[in-house]
Every structure is written in structure tokens, then in C-alpha cells.
Amino acid sequence: MRKSLFLGLATAAIFSTTAQAGTLEDVKKAGFVKCGVSTSLAGFSAADDKGNWKGLDVDVCRGVAAAVLGDATKVKFSPLTAKERFTALQSGEIDILSRNTTWTLTRDASLGLNFAGVNYYDGQGFMVSKKLGIDSTLKLDGAAICIQAGTTTELNLSDYFKANNMKYKAITFDTNDQTIEGFKSGRCDVLTTDQSGLYSLRLKLEDPNSAVVLPEIISKEPLGPVVRQGDDVWFNIVKWTLNAMINAEEMGVTSKNVDEMKKSKDPAIGRLMGGQGEKLKLDDNWSFNIIKQVGNYGESFEANVGAGSPLKIERGVNALWNKGGIMYAPPIR
């Protein structure tokens, strides 16, 4: 898998002289969106027992497929490890990377990528076994910590322990599933990743209550979809797909009432429902299709990670800006 990626990068770099532009045309021609997701992170991107991908990150890709192709099911998912993800996007193996990826300066500026927004505000947390009786990250001096390779988590961890003058041992695995195996076997005392990921991974323990997530959050992890740099048409489509979902929640448009809302006299809702498609080089129905087939941001959140899911994560900072959170989308006009 990994080798094929590098080979892919090499061949793409060598033989593609048409460079980047034209993802939209390519997607329309292929009839599906190629979407990079995680290998398995319940709530964000995980395949169910029938092989259907579900999750908050998955819904971004489904939204883009609905906007571009009018059908949210026209998505081909590629499960990627943290290490593989950027190469897969750079080489054109995928069109969107929607894989709980933290937006940082280095990634935005030096990898030839663009972040199209934030669909989940996260922060790095720690999970420990309950029987250790630890209630604060500041008591973790000397601990062995399981961690996934190629993440911002590795860097934050080092910074945090150094700032607090503590020592630790990093046991770096390739996938999330391996980190939880290491945690189960007792190879490490602590598991660290984004806090949402901790809740998701905790469900994989035989007894999820045997582990506790510590209250401290040691970093900012704004997670969002990523596209290749230099293809502004595609960048805009992904960016405004996410914005349309957030705006729809703000205006109270849901997948259930979208047909009635289409007749609404409110000009803002009217703009959300149509008339802006041409500017994005899409049909006028683009946003209607997103909301109808995928739902607004709030619906997606509740169904995948919120109250309607086993994760039961509170909206917290991910609530809309006018409901006490920081989720804010520029207006559609």
C-alpha cells in the first residue's frame, strides 16, 4: 500500500504534465469523488458491517458528491494511515482528504495542499487505565505513551512534556488500531490522540469504562478537509460544501424540511437553495442536493458523533457561533 503510494507519487510527478487543474472535470468524467478517509475511526470515518462508510468526515465527501454529481452515494473511499494521507492527495490518488487532519502552517504552506475549512474543533487529550488512579496529565512523568506515527500529536506531546519538565517514552505505531492494542496489552500506560479520537478508540476496549479520558487538552486541533493547492475551482467547491452545511444548520434547514424551505420567502434561505451554482461551476441545485441527501452540519454531527451515536460527544466548541460555540461559516451571497 505504502509503496504503491510512493510509486504513485513518482509516476504522477513524472508523467502528469497537465499538473493540477481540472479535478472537477475529472470527477464528472469518472462519475465519482475519490475520498481519503481514516482506516477506521468510529464517528469520523468507519465502515459499518455492510461496508458503507459513515461519519462526520465521510459526510463532507458525500456532500461534495451531492453538489457535483447530484448523488451523495457516488464516492469511492480510500482508507489511509496518517502517514500515507498527504502523499495520496499530492499524487492525485484521491480528490479530497477528509481524515481528521489538523490544519497547521507547515502542512498548509509546504505540502502543496489547501485546507478547505474546519469541520471539527478538537484538541489533544490523554486516556489512562482507571486502575492507575491518575486524574491529571501532570502526574504522567515517566509514563510510556502509545501514539500514532505521522501526526501533530507526536509533536504536541514532546512540547507538552518538555514544557512541564517531565519524561516519557513514545511507542509509535502505524495505525490507530495498533495503538489501542498496545494500550490493551499494557505496553503503554497512556494513549494519546485528539480527544474525539480517544472517545472513539475507547469503544474498542472490552470494557470502555476501564479507561478514563483525562480532562486536560494540550493543543488546538482544527480538523478539516484538504485539497490540492492550485485548483481553485475544486477548492471553492469543497470549501462551500462545508459552508453550505453549516449555514443550513444556522438557518434551520434540514434534510427533512428542505423541500418546504425551498418555497421560503426569506431571501437568505433562497440564496442557500439556489442561484449561486454558476459561480462555483455547479448546478443551481448543488446546495439543495447536499442538504437533502446528507443533511446540515448539526444533523451530521448528532448522527455520527453526538447524542445519536455511541460516542455521545457534546457539541461544546463545535456548536454554532450563536449557540455558544465557534462553528461559523461565511454567508452565502
Binding site: A13, Q20, A149, L155, L157, D159, K169, A170, E181, Q229
Partner: protein
Amino acid sequence: MSDPRHNSSELPSKPPIWNDPKYRALFFQIILVAALFYFFYSLVSNTLGNMEARGISTGFAFLSEKSGFDILMSLIPYSSDSTYGSTFVVGLLNTLLVGFLGIILATLLGFTMGIARLSKNWVIAKIATFYIEIFRNIPLLIQLFFWYIAVLGVLPSARDSHSLFDRFFLNVRGAYLPAPVAEDGMIFTGVAFVIGLIATFFASKWAKNKQIKTGQRPPLLLIALGLLIVAPLLVFFISGSPLSWDVPKLAGFNFAGGIEIIPELFALLLGLSIYTGAFIAEIVRSGILAVDHGQTEAALSVGLTPAQNLKLVVIPQALRVIIPPLTSQYLNLVKNSSLALAIAYPDIVAVFMGTTLNQTGQAVEITAMTMGVYLVISLSISLFMNWYNAKMSLVER
């Protein structure tokens, strides 16, 4: 007698240059070389051009940037303040360590099992057969998971460690041994050992000469034992035993002090050497069977013991058959060590082509460097083994 047909002026004139095989061959070779050059030139320039067009950073400047992440095991001083360049060295040394130890262990195991499989003792021969057939036929990755998760992963936690004399500890975090700490005066023991080493070298020369002259072989093993172990030990005690032990102690989450062997290294070594050892065993067996049975009969009839026969007659001849395929197994072992990633051992693929690549995003440079490393390691092993092969080959007088 001049036959007009042999007159030089009558010879068929030189063929035109495009029909001359010599020039033709040269022509096509030049074209091939030029095409190859063009291929690689456009490979590199297109790659660089496209990466620049996509806004991907290129070049090797990242090697001197601060890495900012920690590595589980390092043979050189390393912290998150070190550079990406030092992550390369850390990964490289970890790969070399596991390759070096793995080759030694696999060779020992392979030779033992290969000879054991030919044993006349039914039990020993069957044990060796079982070992070879089981471990040769299961994929290495599965064996690594087996050792790491099923064997080392079920060891007790740090607080309930297995211990031996309260000095050696074994738990799920690894093995902990007392570390020797040299104090003032230890230098004398070291000097005594070096002197013993030199003396042993001359003693073996003397013993060989004596055997050639008189046919009597002096008890060299005893002499060496005395020079290398007894004498340094005497010096050690006379100088007042200047050595203390740093015994690992349970502190907080885990043991501190002493020597720590992480389970990732242990599992990787077990997996690699047991897997490769099974192949080496078969190579050794085929090598021994390739030596004509008449050689053994001749050796036994001149009065050599079976052990001497094996050591002096069979193995030297078998080695000529064994060494070339053995080299391939060594190369396989080193390359297979890149599976380390699956069990969190920080080798060059896991550290440099893993985390470093992901943090910097410079896939082309890092992949090229890593490929270069494996190429250099493999070629070095090949060179060494070719040299050894030439040394062992039949000297015709």
C-alpha cells in the same frame, strides 16, 4: 604461385559503414546511452518542475530543521531538539543494530538446526525438521505479530514483573538487566585483557609451529582460557573489584536504571532470526549433503573423530556451496527488518520514512535516501560475503 583471387585488390571492398557490425553495435549503444540519459534527465527535471508547480517544498534543507518529536530507542543522544538529519542517523543505527544481531543469531540457529536435521538421533532430527517446516512456511509479518502480541504482550505489568535474584526483571515493557558501572581502577583489568588477547595470538602461532614440527598439539584452549579470563580476573580482584552494578528499580510507572531491552527489539530479533534461521538451516543441510560421502569415509579411516571430520573435512568443503545462498538470506534479513514498523520498533523506515516524511512532506528526497541506505547496506554485505567466498574457495595448487 599467385592466385589472382588472393590479390588484395581483388578482395571485396569494405562494406558501407551502416553494414559494418562493429559500427552498428557502437551506434546502437550510443543511442541507448543517450536515451537512458534523457530518460533520467526528464525524470528528475519533470519531478522537480511538477513539485514546484504544486507548491511542494524540495531540497535537503529540512535535514537541519528541528524534529520536535521523540523516538523510543536511540543509540546516539537524541531528543526532540535534534534535527531531522539526526532522526535519519537514529533510524539507520537502529536498522543496523537489528540487522547485525539478527544475522549473528540467524546464522547460529541456522547452522545448529541444519546440522541437527542430519543427526542420526531421531528426536533431534525431527525437532529440527519441525522447526524448519513451521517457521519457513509462515509469513514473517504474522510471526512478528505472534512474538510481539501473543508472547511478549501477555507478560505481566511492571509491578508484577518476573524477577531473577531481584536483579533481572521481565515485564510487558521489556527486559531489565543490571548495568555494569566501571569505577577507578577498572582500567587495569582492561589492560590485562588486551595483553591477554595479544599473548593468545602469539601462543596460537607458537602452538601451530610446534604441531607442524613435532606433531604434538599444545593445550591451546587451556592457555587461552588462562590468558583471557583467569589473568584479567586476578588483576580485577587485586585492584579491589572496581566494578559496581546499576540495578534497575521500580520507580513510578516502570523500572529505572540498568539496561533496558525494549520488547519491540526483542520481538523483531526473535522473528527475523527464527524465520531466516529456518532458511539457513536448509542451505546448510544442502551444503553438507553436497560433500561426497567418500570424504567422510576417508576422514574416518585415517582416524579422525566424527567431530573432527565435521570441523576439518566436511564444513570447509560445504561452505563453498553454502556461502552464495547464505548471502541472499543475509540480504533478505536486513530488508525484512523494515517490517519493524508494524510492531513499533523505530527503524529507518518507521522513523525517517514514517514520521519524518510525514512531518516534512518531502516524500521524494526521503524515499530516495532510504532506498540508498538499503542499497548501501546490501551491497556492503554482498562485498563482504564475496570476499569471504573467495577466501574459502578451493585453492588449486
